[in-house]
Amino acid sequence: MDNLLWIFISTLLVNNFVLAYFLGLCPFLGVSGRLETSFRLGLATTFVLVITALCAWVLNTYVLTHAPYLRLISFIVVIASTVQFIEMAIKKLSPSLFQSLGIFLPLITTNCAILGLAIFATNRGYGLLEGLTFALGAGAGFTLAMVLMAGIREETEIGEVPALVRGTAFNLIIAGILSMAFMGFAGLFSST
């Protein structure tokens, strides 16, 4: 139990997927203009991450034991098609949930955080439960980073920022400062 909690907190804060591993930067810089959208994108990403962890575990345990060189290709194909199936199922079963998450699902599949999660979980030899916790932590961390970034960006829109600086350069510098702040959490685990 301790181990699971450790995995969750460390992926949420210390090894935040966006701010420490640079995974999922495209949506982080591209879609983080509005708080509401960022939050929903974060939730949808968490959902896909959990499914990814499940797929990766099944593939690693039952399929890829004899052919590790097929790992990358099978991860991509299986994850993308599973997400597509689930998207269709949600559309059929719960149109309201589809309205809030659905539009993001196909985009998220090509996000590097998804594949990154599968590869990291494999490299670290996580089991099913550990993998799911890892995915939840990564998703929560992604949502946290997105929401913080969107909040800051909404504020800076009112401020006087020179036209030359506006855009990606400015967002990257904000991200750098956020990332610096998150480094402080590393102290949480230094004694253990």
């Binding site: 701010l19 420490a20 591993y21 640079f22 995974l23 999922g24 930067l25 495209c26 810089l29 060189y69 790992r71 990358l72 290709i73 991509i76 194909v77 993308a80 090509t110 996000n111 590097c112 998804i114 594949l115 990154g116 590869i119 990291f120 490299n123 030359l164 600086v165 855009g167 990606t168 350069a169 400015f170 967002n171 990257l172 510098i173 991200a175 750098g176 400062i177 990332s179 610096m180 480094m183």
Partner: protein, 218 residues
């Protein structure tokens, strides 16, 4: 730039990736792998070479096969082709440079998720002949490598006072450790983008001035 004719030559396709359409500085694509591995110039070059191999290989194959790839499933086909080349690059590096492979770790397979590579297949290689696709891929990959190298060397020089492991300053230099840590990646890329924007803006102003003067002389 040789843009006097309307039809771009293969040479133009090669050059555009280096500056005018640089994948990192202008299109801001493929950032996930580039920020994570550019904490030293050597890692940046290894990552750049791997990306170069994958982009050139997949552009070549996609453009050669473009008549046989059915449109509705084209994205999946591109992804599988790219993933194949990445697997080849991954295992080659493991055999040749095990130390570098260990350093890059999970970020090498993540080349698959580099949107720049998929973007070139969709936007260029699937619509042009092999010759043009090859030129475009070489140009884009070199531009990407250049940007990786710029970022990696700035971070290594400031963060460790070294370049390719060689000490540049005397013992008095206090390294800015933050530069080789994750925040340094964001800050350096942000500042490089600022410089790039500034240079582009100055060039545009200069050209506008020249045009104005020429109009005045007439």
């Amino acid at each position: 730039m040789a843009t006097h004719s309307n039809k771009p030559t293969a040479y133009d396709e090669l050059l555009k990736g280096l500056w005018r359409d640089n994948p990192v500085f202008v299109q801001v694509l493929g950032m996930c792998p580039m920020l994570a591995v550019t904490n030293s110039a050597f890692n940046a070059v290894v990552m750049g070479l791997a990306t170069f191999f994958v982009l050139v290989g997949s552009s070549l194959l996609v453009s050669a096969l473009r008549q046989w790839i059915p449109r509705p499933v084209r994205i999946s086909v591109y992804v599988i082709i790219i993933a194949t080349f990445v697997t080849v690059a991954d295992y080659t590096l493991l055999a040749l440079l095990p130390a570098a492979h260990k350093e890059l770790g999970a970020f090498l397979p993540l080349i698959v998720a580099n949107c720049m590579i998929l973007g070139r297949q969709e936007a260029f290689a699937s619509k042009h002949t092999v010759k043009f696709a090859l030129m475009d891929a070489i140009g884009m990959a070199s531009g990407f490598m250049l940007a990786l190298f710029a970022l990696g060397s700035v971070r290594e020089i400031l963060g460790e006072g070294k370049l390719f492991g060689l000490a540049l300053f005397g013992d008095h230099f206090e390294p800015w450790v933050i530069m080789i840590l994750p925040p340094g990646g964001f800050l350096t890329l942000g500042l490089l983008l600022l410089i790039f924007n500034w240079v582009t803006e100055r060039k545009r102003e200069f050209l506008a001035q020249v045009a104005e003067q020429q109009a005045g002389n007439r």
